[in-house]
């Protein structure tokens, strides 16, 4: 009896969950499907779901006309570069706060968190003017710096919560075993922190890749990453749905895959450890 109820429960829940999952995921799926249609077919009503002439010509056109291969490297450089720089600055800081805490560590951590709370629009004007005066507008290095700074608090926090979980005893044991602080970082801390460091890097790449306030406001063409490239389809070019879909699919595919890998660490990173 109880067994039959349990089976019925599982079946109902499974069906409901798959429906909900499908509905939520549908826009992404629909975009991917549309990217393989011809422009004419993309506009067709009633729309065809799977039974149409599949074509990859949009992907070729997107590259030719809007130079996907110019913007994708920008995204990679800006997202990857800002992440790397942020890690170099943040790993020592997180190490210090996790393993050599002082009375002020708590306050420093909360202050770091509060800098992330500052809305970007609040400082848009001065940043824009500084960039203009330093000729950093539409430059990769400028965007790299801005995204690095704006994500630094999250990076420090994520690393801190990971480092915090490494027992201090183990680091002290290595000190007793004759390791200097440098060797302790290399042989003991880093191998133990690899999973945490990896997921911090991935989450930060995702955030930087999708960042659309600074990139839209501070770049136009030369340094423009994919967010700006896609935004250009909001103009009349947006009428080319199949090409828009192809460009969008290209822009999100790598990050969607990365995101799926990090989803479990995501919660911790985005809630600053408040939910584990």
């Amino acid at each position: 009896m109880a067994r039959r109820v349990a089976v019925a429960h599982t079946v109902t829940a499974t069906v409901a969950a798959w429906i909900v999952g499908f509905v939520i995921f549908f826009p992404i799926l629909w975009m991917a499907i549309t990217s393989f249609k011809t422009e004419l077919e993309a506009f067709n009503t009633p729309p065809s779901f799977l039974l149409f002439q599949w074509t990859t010509e949009n992907y070729a056109t997107v590259q030719e006309r809007s130079n996907y291969l110019h913007h994708a490297p920008n995204s990679i450089i800006i997202a990857g570069g800002s992440t790397l720089v942020a890690m170099v600055i943040a790993i020592p800081a997180a190490w210090s706060m996790a393993f050599v805490p002082s009375r002020r560590t708590r306050d420093i951590l909360l202050w770091i968190l509060s800098t992330k709370m500052m809305p970007a629009v609040g400082v848009l004007v001065p940043i824009y003017l500084i960039f203009r005066d330093l000729a950093l507008l539409d430059s990769r290095i400028g965007l790299l710096c801005i995204l690095c700074l704006s994500n630094l608090p999250i990076v420090v926090w994520m690393l801190f919560t990971y480092f915090k979980e490494i027992p201090k005893d183990i680091l002290e044991a290595s000190r007793m075993d004759g390791a200097t602080i440098g060797r302790e970082l290399v042989y003991v801390l880093t191998p133990m922190a690899v999973p945490g460091i990896a997921s911090t890097i991935l989450l930060n790449v995702i955030l930087a890749w999708n960042e659309a306030f600074w990139t839209l406001n501070l770049s136009t063409s030369e340094a423009a990453p994919l967010t700006v490239f896609i935004a250009s389809y909001s103009s009349p070019e947006g009428l080319f749905w199949a090409k828009l879909s192809a460009a969008s699919t290209l822009a999100i595919a790598p990050i969607l895959v990365l995101g799926w890998f990090t989803q479990r660490q995501l919660v911790r990173g985005l809630t600053f450890g408040a939910v584990k």
Partner: protein, 290 residues
């Protein structure tokens, strides 16, 4: 506690982060405050003069500000309500025994990784287009009049898009929290004769109180500055119907080149965000003790 040597090294390693973040926070903020007290338009360089609190007066009494303020509240409030309520429901559903749970999880979390410009454009064109969009086709098939979303209900359209982007976040956090709920606690409630509804009301919901607060605070911080979605779909229109504070400041600064007023607006946004940040920081801080 540690040795002096380690402490010195620790301070040395912490300082770059602190210095960078301090500069990043203080310099632009100080400039914003300074500009907000000037008559300063990029179209009239060299004409800057002291304006006192005039910019604040103009910004706060501008009908556009009131409209933007109202729009911001509506946008933030609606998205919060939608994502939290549906987030709880979906999280409860995913917490059940499900075949292929991991795949469902991946599908649900998907929208979070989509850059905002992409999701806004895909929704605007592929789904919400009044003639060829999928929604229009569904409406016609059901014998209904298709809705011209961005003309008839532009704010609702934006709310829908932004909610879709943030629903995964709420769901994922609430699901994580649900999974940390002690099974024994729930079983004890069941042994005490609690029905599923009362278990939910008296055991599950209180357990979710803190994660819900965290979701609300973090989403609010991001939702206050929704920008890209508006930028690529409505451009704040029609009229001011979808202009929020972030977009208003952007248009003051980079479309009207009015640095003074935009700076005053920026400070208003900073103040609002800081009030929220205060509560979030307190919650996270309490957690730090444990």
């Amino acid at each position: 506690m540690a040795t002096q040597q380690a402490r010195t090294l620790g301070r040395l390693m912490l300082s770059p982060t602190i210095i960078l973040l301090f500069v990043w926070m203080i310099v632009p903020l100080a400039m914003t405050i300074y500009f907000s007290a000037l008559n300063y338009n990029l179209l009239n360089p060299g004409m800057e003069n002291f304006a006192g609190l005039d910019n604040y007066y103009y910004f706060l009494t501008d009908p556009a500000f009131l409209a933007a303020f109202r729009n911001t509240l509506v946008l933030v409030g609606s998205v919060l309500a939608i994502t939290v309520v549906f987030g709880i429901l979906i999280a409860l559903l995913l917490d059940q025994p499900i075949l292929g749970r991991n795949v469902v999880r991946l599908m649900v979390i998907g929208p979070f990784f989509i850059m905002p410009t992409v999701s806004a454009l895909v929704w605007k064109n592929l789904l919400m287009h009044p003639v060829s969009g999928l929604f229009a086709w569904i409406a016609t098939s059901l014998g209904l009049e298709p809705i011209d979303w961005f003309a008839e209900a532009p704010m609702f359209a934006i709310i829908l898009i932004v909610s879709w982007q943030w629903l995964p976040f709420a769901t994922l956090i609430l699901l994580t929290a649900l999974q940390s709920l002690d099974a024994e606690q729930r079983e004890a409630a069941e042994m005490d004769g609690a029905r599923s509804l009362s278990t939910f009301l008296y055991i599950t919901l209180p357990h979710l109180a803190r994660p819900i607060t965290v979701v609300i605070l973090i989403e609010t911080i991001f939702l206050l500055s929704v920008f890209a979605d508006i930028f690529v779909t409505t451009g704040g229109g029609p009229g001011l119907q979808t202009t929020n504070i972030a977009f208003l400041i952007y248009s003051q600064a980079l479309m009207h080149y009015d640095v003074g007023t935009a700076s005053a607006g920026g400070l208003v946004a900073v103040v609002v965000a800081n009030i929220l940040a205060f509560f979030l920081v307190r919650i996270v801080g309490r957690n730090l003790e444990a």
